[in-house]
Amino acid sequence: MSRTARSPLVKRDWGATEDGCSILHVDMDAFFASVELARRPHLRGRPVIVGGSERAVVLAATYEARAFGVHSAMPMQIARRMCPQAVVVPPDMAAYREVSTAVMEVLSEVTTLVEQVSVDEAFLDVSGARRRLGPPTAIAAGIRERIRATHGITCSVGIAGTKFVAKLASEHAKPDGVLLIPRAATVEFLRALPVGALWGVGERTEAALARWGLRTVAELADSDVSTVQRAVGKVAGAHLHDLAWGRDPRPVSPGRIEKSIGAEVTFPVDVADLAVVQTQVLALADRCASRLRSEGMVSRTVSIKVRTSDFRTLTRSRTLPTPTDVGREIFLVTRELLAGVDLEGLPVRLVGVRTEGLSPAHATPQQPTLEEATAESGHGRRDAERAMDLVRDRFGTGSIHAASSTAPKPVILEGHRPINYRRSETGPILDVTSPSG
């Protein structure tokens, strides 16, 4: 659910000429919320918010809830205050992922040129599917119908000659609509928008442009390139000027490589005990590694993000000696990064781990450790983690994790005295079992 600047003026019919408009941007409407409504039909028509407990943020909200000012990424507490009558549903990521995969399959039946941007949106280049499936508007209608029929959720489709205009079109088609921007109408469509609608323009850039009096796309398009470049820098300036005139040469690239894989968590209550934070970091490192392995990628750089109770966010990153998809290797670095962060004694609100510098594992040379190189196959750390992946695939994500990522609670077995599990600080380094020598 995007918060891109929109303009009510442009939500109209821009014409029906489809020549050269072969890019589709398909975007699920309030995706997580829609999936929840599909399996809870009695909630239809009511404001529904998908989000975690008190401290988390809104992940999705139905249009009924949005009418109250609720939007994604808003803290849950504020959302509840704005819309106290909303039904709050805890997120079920596994269910959303399942629907997402099915939806992407529908899209891949239209064309192989599908570029998935996130869990709920994708670009399609349908120029090759026209003879088989008809004009883009017919293809869009077909996609929307199939998704609605099989999953009970709606989506909006933007059709244009470029990716960036198609995305803007789907924004303006929402909810449950289609908007075609013919080639001839592209510039006129763009001119009516605020600069914030352009790809890559956030609050900072918007403010920088506003200092030069550039508030609308029309103003940006009519000004000299050098003026825009002076406002936002050489590369970005030229790029924005191109976009303002509807020029966007980027093709739909199905093999889009994910730039990073990350996971983060907001604690229910701020945590002052660094051991607890570290335990969470271990779980997050494992989650990143598991996703790296499932995507067949290895990461070269690891970063952590720590937000303290005063909302200060600190990030630290480090390049690994060799690219990896092993959770333990990622954890060792994150632990070191975490130790180097000066929290000024404040408790921690949020912690995140991110793996960057991704490359396909099969094409990346890796420097194995002595342990990996000398172990008989099936005894290395990577093999252990791969085995954990298989267990998770079969029995669910919570079924297995590193022993040290569970809180060291005394476990009471029936008829036995409590057993205290000691948490290992580092664990073996080279998996040593025999004495030195």
């Binding site: 290895v298 070269r300 000696p321 060799t322 690219p323 998809d325 060792l332 670095v333 632990r335 070191e336 594992a361 099969h362 094409a363 990346t364 040379p365 890796q366 420097q367 194995p368 450790t369 002595l370 342990e371 990996e372 190189a373 000398t374 580092t426 073996p428 380094i429 080279l430 998996d431 040593v432 079992t433 025999s434 004495p435 030195s436 020598g437």
Partner: protein, 376 residues
């Protein structure tokens, strides 16, 4: 306190004593060098950061004995910059005046009573030839880990067994082992210590110029310490605590294939070929009868290759290495020829030194390196 000392002697001693002082000490006094002038004409300089301590003694004309604590870095810089003339140092109230020729400096002192007591140098365990120590330490520390991700691996494992010392270090990708002999104080000494690689290499570099370096180890009683002493200079360091992994077993028992190449020629060729190897990409070494071909780069990237003479025993074999790790190992050898011993293209390769193309290798120093491979 009042004394006169030669500029060179003072500069040397202060520089050495202050060399490991922290830039941002947890308490200000730890940035100081303690100078004690005694009536017998000896200056005692000392520094300590609770991990590493250093003490040196020099001769001086002491007219008034006394003790002061001044900023070590500042005094080192000043004494190095002074003209080559006698230096007069006088304590006046809370300030120290340093006069040399027409130059005059006034330094603030820090409270001597707040300065921690230095650890006592343990009893001498034995002594090593200075050159041997320097060389051996350089050979193993090249394989020690440089980042604190695994703190234990920033240490060198030192095994003492009678007349034999074994040094071991690994960063998990390579492993270096060096054996050397020394003169133990007692012939049946048997002990193991983990010394931070940085500390060890610093001690070896700064004391290795002496003909003989005394080594003192104290383990098992109170604080575990290692001390080095040579030519009136003493340094002690806390030992690293922990169980060092059993790495010796990683050396292969049998190597059916081995190749001998001229060390310098291989090193030079590897440096040239590595120019096209981007970060984390390997340099390949393909051995066949009579030669080795080095190459790097593939596909659309820049490529380089070079062939060298090599004596191969066993089947043809091709391995890929991280260029830096390869160069580190070749650089540490100090012999005219290098023997690379293989078991399998994906298994660790052992590097040893050899005097000539033919003959046996020298097992005194062994460098074990894991080849790079493409993930399955």
């Amino acid at each position: 306190m009042k004394f006169r000392v030669e500029r060179d002697v003072l500069a040397d001693a202060v520089t050495w004593t202050a060399r490991s002082l922290p830039t941002r000490p947890p308490v200000p006094v730890l940035a100081g060098v303690r100078i004690e002038a005694d009536a017998s004409g000896v200056l005692h300089l000392s520094s300590f950061d609770y991990e590493v301590s250093a003490r040196s003694e020099i001769a001086a004309e002491v007219s008034e004995p006394g003790v002061v604590l001044v900023s070590g870095r500042l005094l080192a810089e000043i004494s190095r910059a002074l003209p080559a003339k006698p230096v007069d140092v006088v304590l006046e109230g809370t300030k120290v005046t340093v006069t040399c020729g027409a130059s005059r400096f006034t330094l603030l002192t820090m409270p001597v009573e707040d300065y921690p007591a230095l650890p006592v140098m343990p009893e001498i365990t034995g002594s090593i030839d200075g050159d041997q120590l320097t060389q051996a330490v350089a050979q193993v520390t090249v394989a020690a880990s440089r980042d604190d991700t695994l703190p234990l691996l920033t240490a060198v494992r030192m095994e003492i067994e009678g007349e034999k010392i074994t040094l071991l270090a690994t960063d998990r990708y390579r492993l270096a082992l060096r054996e050397l002999t020394w003169k133990p104080a007692s012939p049946d000494v048997s002990t193991v210590a983990l010394v931070r690689a940085k500390t060890l290499s610093d001690a070896a570099k700064s004391l290795g110029g002496s003909a003989q370096v005394n080594v003192a180890l104290a383990t098992g009683v109170g604080v575990d310490l290692i001390g080095f002493e040579a030519g009136g200079r003493h340094t002690t360091s806390l030992l690293v605590d922990g169980d060092y992994p059993a790495v010796r077993r990683l050396f292969p028992d049998e190597t059916p294939i081995h190749a001998v190449v001229e060390t310098q020629a291989l090193s030079d060729a590897a440096k040239r070929v590595a120019l096209v190897a981007e970060r984390n990409t390997p340099i390949r070494l393909s051995f066949s009868a009579g030669q080795v071909v080095l190459d790097a780069g593939q596909g659309d990237d820049a490529q380089a290759s070079e062939a060298l003479e090599a004596a191969l025993v066993g089947d043809d074999i091709s391995v890929a290495f991280n260029p830096q790790f390869l160069l580190d190992g070749l650089g540490a050898l100090n012999t005219a020829f290098v023997r690379l011993s293989f078991t399998h293209p994906n298994k660790p390769v052992e590097f040893t030194g050899q005097r000539a193309l033919e003959g046996d290798d020298n097992q005194e120093y062994r460098y074990l390196l894991v080849p790079i491979r493409f993930a399955s």
